[in-house]
């Protein structure tokens, strides 16, 4: 940044001109709504449309019941699994983009980004159409099954029973697959930007000195790309933890995630104070994750 910051007192008019609108908007349409939710989380239903903010902690107490605690844990497990799969799929893709010929690189990047710009609901819906009992995924699996059956007859064994379409949708598997599908671009882009900055001569040096590709990858590439890996993990984990649409449309009755429980408090169960408490617990969980990430980033800075 060129030039020092100006003190607002010496430039009151220009400061007021730029600061008023953003600060006003943030205060009225972000802080105020969030504060009301926060206050509601300490309240109780006093009538059909009346909430009495009594300072009670009952909503939080109820949230620690095993039923809700297990949904929190499960959401976290699903989000973590999604992140891990995204990392495993995404890392080689990010590597491939980094080391691709310069004329291909922008197009590969575009290929990753385009789905990211496409409507989330449309993508979820498209995936669901493919995964239905009559969808192509089932057809593909049926083809494999028949192939296996034919192989068995070749070696003189009984053929397998006829293929019956399996239910791919409305279970935990579908939720994880859907979340991976939606969040994969989030993971690839930060990984790519970290790998792109990496000094390639270090990899060459490692290979020249006799380390294999795998060893070089583990000892050179991964540690140097660590900031990108952590950024990618956070960028995937945080929205996956709060995912609403994917578990709602692709999940079964047992694949509810925390966002679905919150939604139910506001629409069907009509228990706003409890929903408010759950919302804030989810926000606190995000804060803890982000604090952990920035603590790690600071440690790395100090170490250097």
């Amino acid at each position: 940044m060129s030039g020092a910051l100006q003190d607002w007192k010496s430039q009151k008019k220009p400061f007021a001109a730029v600061a008023t609108a953003p600060v006003f908007w943030l205060g009225l349409f972000f802080i105020a709504p969030m504060t009301i939710v926060w206050l509601y989380s300490f309240g109780q239903n006093a009538g059909p449309a009346d909430i009495n903010i009594s300072g009670t902690l009952d909503n939080y107490k109820r949230a620690t019941e095993w039923l809700y605690l297990s949904i929190f844990l499960k959401s976290f497990a699903v989000a973590a699994l999604t992140t891990l799969i995204c990392l495993i799929i995404g890392f080689p893709v990010a590597m491939a983009i980094t080391f691709a010929a310069p004329k291909w690189r922008p197009w590969l990047l575009l290929g990753i980004m385009l789905p990211f710009w496409t409507n989330l609901l449309i993508r979820t819906y498209a995936l669901m159409a493919l995964m239905g009992t009559n969808g192509y995924m089932n057809k593909g699996l049926g083809g494999l099954w028949e192939g296996a059956s034919w192989l068995r007859t070749l070696v003189g064994m009984q053929p397998l029973e006829a293929w019956t379409p399996v239910q791919l949708l409305y279970n935990n598997f579908a939720v994880v697959l859907g979340l991976v599908y939606v969040h994969l671009p989030f993971m690839v882009l930060p990984l790519y930007s970290a790998l792109d900055r990496l000094d390639k001569s270090l990899i060459e040096a490692s290979l020249d000195l006799g380390a294999g590709h795998f060893k070089t990858f583990m000892k050179i590439v991964v540690p140097l790309a660590a900031p990108g890996i952590f950024a990618g993990v956070m960028i995937t984990l945080v929205p996956a933890l709060g995912a609403y649409l994917t578990p709602d449309l692709m999940g079964g009755t047992d694949s509810q995630m925390i966002a679905n429980v919150i939604e139910r408090q506001f629409k069907r169960a009509n228990d706003w104070p409890f929903g408010a408490a759950l919302s804030f617990l989810l926000i606190y969980a995000m804060f803890i994750l982000i604090a952990l990430q920035s603590m790690r980033a600071n440690k790395v800075k100090e170490a250097r």
């Binding site: 943030l26 080689p92 493919l130 060459e204």
Partner: protein, 278 residues
């Protein structure tokens, strides 16, 4: 294409397993969308077998009044939210870039919160907020979209501010000082020196805000009144209750719109520039 030269150690992308890995990932990302687009032209009520080419579902989708209304609503909201987010976001970026003021860290941190807070929590907050205010839901178009538009601006403008601020970092403040030395007023210096410099980031920010607004389902779902419906909310209810090929047709139109917008962004920013905004 075929290896005329030996693969150098770092040419990982030329290795077969790496290529297949990328190919399979792209297949995973694109197959569902491509299948959806192809089958929007399929002359069959069920989505499985190809029965012949038809445009009748496009006709149906375009004659479905509530679907068209939802689409018009979505585009109107996205348009309004983009313009207002652009102004507020740019102002916020200039504020944080130029001035030192009390509680700056707090303001900066709070402004990044709408990006971090889960959509569901923001949606719930707006539901309660507008209920508490007794925000009227029966206003004439386009005022009936005001609640949704306000909610969209809240989560769009911090993104605009982020993009613009990144661009401001490369601004040479001496240019502005030179303009003022030559007699330009504060406003003239802003309009003729600073604004042209940040223009690319404004285009990028606008496209980002537009797609974010058009994409949003969860927050809209909580903020929309009983009679205002946006495209994602409409598609959601159609997907929930019955899958019709009309949804395929309408989705295809939206996908093509998105791709077109992306290519406009490409023209202004280059692929690398877009990658950096994310």
């Amino acid at each position: 294409m075929f290896n005329r030269t030996a693969i150098a150690p770092l040419e990982y992308t030329r290795k077969l397993w790496m290529r297949s890995w990328v190919g399979l990932t792209m297949l995973f990302l694109y197959a569902p969308l491509v299948v959806l687009m192809i089958f929007s032209f399929n002359d069959s009520k069920r989505n499985v077998m190809w029965k012949g080419f038809t445009l009748k579902y496009y006709e149906k989708a375009l004659n479905n009044d509530s679907l068209v209304e939802a689409m018009v609503n979505s585009l109107t909201i996205a348009f309004l939210a983009t313009i207002i987010s652009l102004v507020i976001g740019a102002l916020a970026a200039v504020m944080l870039w130029r001035f030192r003021f009390p509680f700056k860290g707090l303001v900066e941190g709070t402004m990044s919160l709408p990006i971090i807070v889960p959509e569901i929590c923001l949606g719930v907050a707006f539901l309660i907020f507008f209920a508490k205010l007794d925000w009227p839901t029966d206003l004439a178009w386009p005022l009936n979209l005001s609640a949704i538009t306000i909610a969209h601006i809240t989560f769009c403008f911090p993104f605009v501010a982020m993009v613009v601020r990144a661009r401001l970092a490369s601004f040479n403040r001496e240019e502005e000082e030179a303009a003022k030395d030559l007699g330009a007023t504060e406003w003239q210096a802003f309009r003729d020196v600073l604004l042209p410099h940040i223009k690319p980031s404004l285009v990028a920010g606008a496209l980002l805000a537009f797609t974010l607004s058009l994409d949003d389902f969860v927050i809209t779902f909580f903020t929309s009144g009983p009679d205002t419906i946006t495209f994602p909310v409409k598609v959601y209810s159609m997907v929930r209750f019955s899958v019709t090929p009309e949804v395929n047709a309408a989705s295809t139109i939206l996908i093509i719109l998105t791709v077109a917008l992306t290519f406009i962004a490409l023209k202004y920013q280059g692929v690398k520039g877009i990658a950096e905004t994310h």
